[in-house]
């Protein structure tokens, strides 16, 4: 919550993050990290076709170019 709300005033009461929320967020973080170990070697992007060669006018590379020395 604290990263979304900022104020220029002082509250008269202390607001604590609910224990359950903090726990759920820690669990999500663990699962995210753990699942990343099972992921693939390349992403899959849904509904984006097989090959993207850039917007038409951006000069996508299709011709010879030798590596820099």
């Amino acid at each position: 919550m604290t990263e979304f709300l900022k104020g220029n005033y002082e509250l008269k009461v202390d607001i604590e993050e609910r224990h359950e929320d903090a726990e759920a967020s820690a669990t999500d973080e663990f699962e995210r990290k753990a699942l990343s170990r099972l992921g693939g070697s390349i992403c899959f992007v849904s509904k984006k076709g097989f090959l993207w060669t850039g917007d038409k006018s951006d000069g996508s590379r299709t011709t010879d170019r030798t590596p820099a020395e």
């Binding site: 099972l38 693939g40 070697s41 993207w52």
Partner: protein, 334 residues
């Protein structure tokens, strides 16, 4: 069996970004001065006769069904596209792929599929002793590596590598040292239409096409065969996305990770499917199941017809019928 494996599989799209995006972008920055030809230039080379291609993965059916020996016997003249981990098996039988595809950003492992010149002792990492993809490495790692170095050095100048910018610099070194010709591309990491897209940023930096890889190098090789080479009939061998009946769980790709995550419950994460071609029950883990699901979805959208000629695994469906390799090659000639 529970549906744990399927539930995990549904979350692997985001998890993969978490796993590969940072290291892939880092490797792309290091590789940038060495980037030459674009993957799109492969299309101009008109590789292989006719409209057919065979894509070679390194799944267990490749050995079980002797698919490579049979490929030699049928005298296939179309394009041959292999994944990096199948290169050794191909070269040992005298099959020199037109294109080898590599993408995984791992800093130490992937170079081994090309022969690692820096390896003098068997590493502590037991990946190659445990993996199911090339049994030669499990027997004697040092000798397998030495033999592969020799083969790749001999045939390298005849081989084109479709190499992702995410590849580890050690892989680039090795391919260049062996005289292989490199054709570069960016993995599609995310929706390129979004302004903060990593795919868009990489494309803006290096001008290379972004290829939607479907989670793994085998699917990326299939995309190369039809979306880049323009082949309209694609046969798959060794793209199993699963394990043969009787395989020990300890010899599966993600065993250590599943064991760490689920402890004694790890077997619940495996999914069992009957292979209709052989009438056998194969099993798969959440990652491979995700690859399968994604591949079947992509096959529906592809402008080619895809046939699984591997006679094994879990990759089959209306858009990926199973057939024998001999029937596929015969019909491709007609």
């Amino acid at each position: 069996m529970t549906d744990l494996g399927r539930r995990i599989a549904r979350r692997l799209s985001d998890a993969t970004f978490e796993r590969v995006a940072a290291v892939g972008a880092e490797n792309a920055a290091v590789n940038r001065p060495r980037i030459g030809r674009s993957l799109l230039e492969l299309a101009e080379e008109r590789l292989g006769a006719g409209n057919a291609a065979v894509v070679i993965g390194a799944g267990p059916s490749l050995y079980r069904r002797r698919s490579l020996e049979r490929l030699v016997a049928v005298d296939f003249t179309g394009a041959i596209v292999a994944v990096d981990s199948a290169l050794g098996a191909c070269l040992r039988l005298g099959i020199v792929p037109h294109v080898v595809v590599t993408v995984d950003p791992h800093h130490e492992r992937i170079v081994r599929w090309f022969g690692d010149p820096a390896m003098v002792v068997a590493p502590a990492d037991d990946y190659f002793r445990r993996q199911e993809m090339d049994p030669h490495h499990a027997e004697d790692e040092i000798e397998a590596n030495r033999a592969l170095l020799e083969l790749v050095d001999r045939y390298g100048p005849e081989i084109r590598v479709a190499i992702a910018t995410s590849a580890a610099p050690a892989v680039v070194d090795r391919c260049e040292m062996a005289g292989m010709r490199l054709y570069w591309w960016n993995p599609m990491y995310d929706d390129y239409e979004k302004s903060d897209s990593l795919s868009r940023r990489l494309h803006a930096q290096n001008g290379l096409p972004c290829l939607n890889g479907g989670g793994n190098v085998g699917t990326a090789a299939w995309v190369v065969s039809h979306a880049v080479l323009g082949k309209t009939r694609v046969g798959l061998i060794g793209l199993d996305f699963g394990y043969a009946p009787g395989t020990s769980y300890t010899r599966t790709q993600y065993y250590p990770e599943l064991r760490d995550l689920f402890g004694e419950r790890f077997t619940d994460a495996f999914i069992h499917l009957e292979n209709p071609f052989l009438g056998e029950t194969w099993f798969t883990d959440p990652a491979y199941y995700w690859f399968r699901d994604v591949f079947l979805g992509m096959a529906r959208e592809a402008s080619c017809r895809t046939f699984n000629c591997g006679e094994g695994g879990v990759l089959f469906g209306d858009d990926v019928p199973m057939t024998s390799l001999e029937a596929f090659v015969e019909e491709s000639r007609a």
